[in-house]
């Protein structure tokens, strides 16, 4: 009854595996330890520590950066669920700082102001796993090629408008369906067209799904939004401003968790949606100027 194997850490299996444990769950944006505890009590599968929620980043303007390490340490001390944190696109030193703090996952996020307009972080070299945003299959597979162990569709963060999240999830799922029916020579041409590594295009075609866990994000504000994203094929939901910018965060958080679990049970979604109070105010994406869209960040 003794083990006889060497111990390997930080493998792809272990990095992707944590995302698999989050499936069917909700990852909630929090800016304080108190919010993190509310999220955990409501049934969050993980929390995302950041300096300001996307709605405030949008309202305040200026440069959005990694959160204060002190805040991240406070949040880590407050909860037992995994703690994720955001770094700027391409800011590998922010990523190293977050890794040194012992965060469980890093989100290299378009919600923060990009630090590099050409390069993303070379994520394979890190011990900590990364999640990245995508709008289509090519972008997702480029990020996985760089070492991302989880992806999420970008949506349009801080708006409370789910339309972009739907657009991106539909696009990704449709492209995954298409490649399953392609011949090998068509896959070569398609990989070139979507600027994705060929081996990952072939892997996704063979699996019939994204090679890593794929959550939805960016504009999910209600239990019905959360269930909609699951119905479109998402593995789980990130909810940012939608919870702590609403009238009753604890109740809304619980409702979104329940709707994510029971996404096929519309009667239950109706039940948890009753008397939830004010949702976040929201900004219609159609009213945004192109330069105000965060989803265009990332290359």
């Amino acid at each position: 009854m003794s083990s006889n194997g060497a111990v390997s850490k930080n493998t792809e299996t272990v990095k992707r595996g944590l995302a698999q444990m989050l499936k069917g769950g909700v990852i909630m944006d929090v800016v304080t330890a108190e919010q993190a505890s509310i999220a955990e009590d409501a049934g969050a599968a993980a929390v995302m520590a950041l300096e300001r929620v996307p709605a405030d980043i949008r309202a305040d303007g200026g440069v959005a950066r990694m959160a204060d390490p002190e805040k991240i340490l406070e949040i880590q001390a407050a909860v037992t669920i995994p703690v994720m944190a955001k770094c700027r696109i391409g800011h590998f030193v922010e990523a190293e700082v977050l890794q040194s703090l012992g965060v469980d996952y890093i989100d290299e996020s378009e919600v923060l102001t990009p630090a590099d307009e050409e390069h993303h972080v070379a994520k394979s070299g890190f011990d900590v796993p990364f999640v990245c945003g995508c709008r289509n299959l090519g972008e997702a597979l480029r990020r996985i090629g760089e070492g991302a162990a989880m992806v999420r569709t970008k949506g349009e963060a801080g708006t409370g408008d789910v339309v972009e999240a739907v657009r991106h999830m539909r696009r990704v799922m449709a492209e995954l369906r298409q490649i399953q029916h392609m011949r090998p020579d068509e896959l070569y041409a398609y990989a070139k067209e979507i600027q994705a590594p060929l081996n990952l295009v072939e892997e996704a075609a063979e699996l019939g799904r994204m090679p890593v866990v794929n959550f939805a994000a960016g504009g999910i504000a209600t239990p019905a939004d959360a269930a909609l994203m699951m119905r479109l094929g998402s593995d789980g939901n990130f909810v940012g401003s939608g919870i702590f910018k609403s009238g009753d965060p604890a109740q809304r958080a619980r409702a979104i968790v329940e709707a994510t679990t029971n996404f096929e049970d519309s009667a239950l979604v109706a039940e948890v949606s009753r008397n939830l109070g004010e949702p976040m105010v929201g900004i219609a994406n159609s009213s945004l100027q192109p330069e105000e869209m965060l989803a265009g960040r990332g290359w």
């Binding site: 083990s3 194997g5 111990v7 390997s8 272990v14 595996g17 944590l18 499936k23 969050a44 037992t80």
Partner: protein, 192 residues
């Protein structure tokens, strides 16, 4: 004959367990409410976040019916978060099933960067070591009377236990290609 095995599907990697069962002569059944437990021969409680699964288990009044399943002699197996949920004591207040007389320490190895893979010898599993994936894994600190230790790490840490037809593993056989533990569980359920 194909045997129906429930997989608690409130949150976590229940689909991975379902895929493993699908490779065997078993029909996976996703369990979200008490009526889903009708007619199953055994239950798997998957990996995930034990606080999330526990709260939803309480919300949908699944605790009593799962405990009744155990009392009726049906096999139940918890992996990682599932092991935590089956424990009597985890050192903090959270909803538990109290099925195994064990004391569990959550996140016992540290944070995600301390997650690891290794090979294990497991009592009752023949054909060489079992490749085990530990992710923010719990360990069993103490076992009560009647609880048998099935596997330990080199340093003696307990990572698999059994009491009658109740099993708990700190690691995730559903993340490997090795279906031996699932096969052994399905066989027990078939004859239970």
């Amino acid at each position: 004959m194909s045997v129906r095995i429930g997989v608690l599907a409130l949150q976590g990697d229940f689909a991975e367990h379902g895929a493993m069962l699908g490779r065997l002569d078993a029909e996976p059944v996703e369990v979200r409410q008490p009526s889903d437990l009708d007619g199953i021969a055994g239950l798997i409680i998957p990996g995930g976040e034990s606080t999330t699964i526990g709260k939803l288990m309480e919300r949908y009044a699944l605790r009593g019916p799962i405990q009744a399943l155990a009392e009726a002699g049906k096999p139940i197996w918890g992996t990682c978060a599932g092991l935590i949920l089956m424990a009597r004591d985890v050192g903090r207040c959270q909803p538990l099933l109290n099925l195994l007389d064990i004391t569990v320490e959550r996140n016992a190895f540290g944070r995600q960067t301390d997650s690891f893979e290794t090979d294990l010898e497991i009592e009752g599993i023949n054909g060489g070591p079992f490749h085990a994936v530990f992710i923010r894994a719990p360990i069993v600190r103490a076992v009560g009377p009647g609880v048998r230790v099935l596997s330990r790490l080199d340093d003696g840490t307990i990572v698999a236990v059994r009491h009658g037809r109740l099993f708990g593993t700190s690691f995730h056989p559903e993340l490997t290609g090795d279906a031996r533990l699932h096969a052994s569980f399905v066989e027990m359920a078939r004859h239970a």
